[in-house]
């Protein structure tokens, strides 16, 4: 009986706080994406040929996001029935965008105007181990180009 109550409480807490955190995060992501829009990030391997001389520097941005109790429960049920795990989609979407934003923030600090050859890598922290928290790390990295005066 008590674990049933505990389960419902965890689920509700997971849902309420998970949703609040997600909303807040999305809002902040959109704001910062606007701010950092002028720093171009592309995954092309070729730097622009516009005559400006630039120095290349490595920039990285990484983020670790944990799944909440509610999302985890949904995903668990999904694994029985099959189909898209929609509860994880927003989680990974946020993680990818946050990683790119952090990478761009680093590039801006270095005075870069663009990042080329950008790549994304995702890794699971707990590797689906039983009883461990499910969290992912997303790493965005690329070569920042900092204009140099001749």
């Amino acid at each position: 009986m008590y674990d049933l109550i505990a389960f419902v409480i965890f689920l509700t807490l997971g849902y309420v706080f998970g949703q609040l955190a997600e909303k807040k995060h999305y809002k902040s992501i959109r704001e910062r994406e606007g701010e950092l829009r002028k720093i171009i990030a592309v995954n092309s391997r070729f730097p622009p040929h516009d005559g400006v001389q630039r120095a290349g520097l490595l920039v990285t941005g990484s983020v670790v996001i944990s799944v909440d109790y509610f999302k985890r429960f949904l995903a668990g049920l999904r694994s029985l029935l099959g189909g898209r795990i929609t509860s994880y989609e927003t989680l990974l979407d946020r993680a990818r965008r946050e990683a790119i934003l952090r990478m761009k923030a680093e590039a801006r600090q270095l005075g870069a105007d663009m990042v080329f050859n950008m790549k994304l890598e995702t890794s699971s922290i707990s590797k689906n181990a039983r009883g461990k928290i499910g969290s992912v790390e997303v790493l965005a990295y690329g070569t920042a180009l900092v204009p140099v005066k001749p």
Binding site: M1, Y15, Q19, R37, D50, L74, G76, L77, E89
Partner: protein
Amino acid sequence: MKYRQQPDIPEGINTSHTHPLKEFAFLLTMGLGLVLALSLLIVFSIDWLAERVPYSLEQSMVSTLDQKFSERNAVDDYLQSIADKLKPAMGLPDEAQIRVHYVDDETVNAMTTLGGHIFVYRGLLKKLQSENAIAMLLAHEMAHVKFRHPIKGLGKGVVLSAVFSLIMGQASDVSAQVISRTGSLTLLKFSRDQEQASDELALKAVQQIYHHVNGAEDLFKNLQDKGNGRAEFLSSHPDTLKRIAYLQQLAKQQGWPVEGDRIRVPENIRRLVF
């Protein structure tokens, strides 16, 4: 190559629009429905199979119990004599052996296992003041034997735990727990039904032997004291008050007298038990 600034891309391309609560409701209904259907299928097929297991096979599965409890005292024999008296009234087939064992322990309980072995603990026995109450207890346990509840329970336990551990291997911790909990709650419902069926048959047998049902309720009145306060849907037995009410109603319906002389437990047994 020229590179341009990334325009503002609308939200929702990489994510789904389904509301999480809607998804939750859908998945929970589907998941639980599936488990419920699976549990029912297993329960009914095991019940069907268990009734076809010969008593002799069941007895040979627990043949070691006979040797282990071969030493018998006066209480064992007293309980056995009541059981033997009840046996014809219970409608038990001849090949169904009933062996009653007295356990010198304070636990307030009695149980039936495979092969018609019934264990009665001193803790429960000393609370029963009359032979009538003891007969009700033994009749209830013998009804379990007649309905093949021990072997059904064993079969269901083994098959369900195998199936659920298979499912659990696929799902994550929490959802697996919810799934298996649903399965065991379904089992508990059947367990409560089994208890009620046994109560019914037991009362009928007691009435046949003693020609009244006075004293039979004592069994449950004592259980009531140790009530665990758990919600009924989480228990293996029906609520004690409900059991008493049901039996009273049954006696009234059938016109069984509720008044009559209770037979005192013999003095030599009292000395050993109380």
